[in-house]
Symmetry: C2
Subunit: 248 residues, 2 copies
DNA sequence: AGAAGGACCAGTGGTCCGTA
DNA sequence: AGAAGGACCAGTGGTCCGTA
């Protein structure tokens, strides 16, 4: 239950490669730790319609004869009930929420360092915090994952009973994580409706939630729901595809 | 005294070129307006040690046969007493401070638009605000200028008497704007000292100042002054040159 | 020499899509 | 098919330095 978090902070910058050896992967919701290092290499991806020439650079056999190691991916999440430990190569939702608490601790450390140095002090979980997470060995924390599930954590913060009920219901029905994640939007929009639709204010009023950016899609859903129940695209499909872009 | 500010807001994006015709330059501190359009073109600058090949692209004789116009630069600031109107091709410090108030109004407009659209709402004067300023014709507002004098405006907000006294003193001694600007740091650091050194908190506590980012140099001076009066580099020289960079 | 501001650049927020 | 996350990209904060 008590997660390991490398404490203290080192002083100099650190490349991603330097991290590759000390891999730590969280397991279920329990206290187990697996340390895994696996081989293999990745290729660059190519962006759609990017047409640009990609030069394949081979980093193999460089100075460090040791060769590269590939970081093991975290086990996928499954829908678990509150308190339930995921079995097999899966992680449960208590563990997911725990990662958000860990990010908060990391942010606090980053803030303290910044204050000490007289530098500007982040109030949100920024890239700097994710970089710091890597640096102190919490390499299982990454931006795309944390941003992906922010609204799920928001529901957990703002209405734990509803969050728990949703988990039980989706587990019972054998739904996958993606379906559960989608379903988290609706009760949040309902909360926003009760509180005057200001989702930013709702996030900022909650001490653990205030450090997270409001996810774009949640913001859009609140906006759409407020402006007439007309043509509200059920929480399933992508709102962003329908967004008119009008800027200055 | 009552400055013109284009009201209402247009809907689509606007390139910089489209702005070039409706140039409005503020004059002194009075109510005069000069509308100036002058000819000429600029070249790209080349960055120091950049060695990269620069392709000169000629945009002349494009669709709009009218040809390009060059924006007239704003008149330089001179040190004026409170209430004093700058004469000749100069702008006074009341006008400088007025620009900060105008930025605040522009930010409020940008915020209202964002709220209407359900988009994220800036709390500070961001690039978006400067872009909006250009769009509504306030092309005499630009980021480098506003950032350059933020701490001078901060002093004006936080201690108007000291700010006024400093202006009178520097005018009397015939000092130029740069010297006055430098001198604004010291009383600000003194204010910070009295209030526990938290310059961010000081900015945020003031309604008109809270929308401005704390300037790097002011932050550094506060930090240096707090950490022992030892080796504090008189406000004159660059602090940034002495800054150790230690990041993650 | 003193000053205004176009334009650059490192690092951000946001998330796509090649990967497993 | 479902999911994790490396890596990309448009637009940011910050300010240098070519310009007048």
């Amino acid at each position: 239950r008590c997660r390991h978090l490398v404490s203290g902070y080192a002083i100099d910058s650190l490349s991603q490669e330097e991290e590759q050896e000390k891999e730590v992967a969280g397991s279920g919701g329990g206290g187990t730790w697996e340390v895994v290092v696996v081989g293999g290499r990745k290729k660059q991806r190519r962006r759609k319609g990017q047409k640009k020439v990609v030069v394949e650079v081979d980093h193999g056999d460089e100075l460090d004869g040791d060769g590269g190691h590939e970081r093991q991916r975290e086990h996928p999440f499954i829908v678990t009930e509150p308190g339930e430990v995921a079995r097999g190569k899966k992680n449960g939702l208590d563990y997911l929420f725990h990662l958000y608490e860990q990010c908060r601790e990391l942010l606090i450390q980053v803030q303290n360092i910044a204050k000490d140095r007289g530098e500007k002090c982040p109030t949100k979980v920024t890239n700097q915090v994710f970089r710091y997470a890597k640096k102190v060995g919490a390499s299982y924390i990454n931006k795309p994952k944390m941003r992906h599930y922010v609204h799920c954590y928001a529901l957990q913060c703002l209405d734990e009973d509803t969050s728990n009920a949703l988990r039980r219901s989706f587990k019972e029905r054998g739904e996958n994580v993606g379906a559960w994640r989608q379903a988290c939007y609706k009760p949040l929009v309902a909360i926003a409706a009760r509180q005057g639709w200001d989702i930013d204010a709702i996030f900022n009023a909650h001490p653990r939630l205030a450090i997270w950016y409001v996810p774009t899609k949640l913001r859009q859903l609140c906006h759409a729901e407020r402006n007439g129940a007309t043509a509200v695209p059920a929480v399933s499909s992508s709102v962003s595809a329908r967004t008119d872009h009008v800027t200055f």
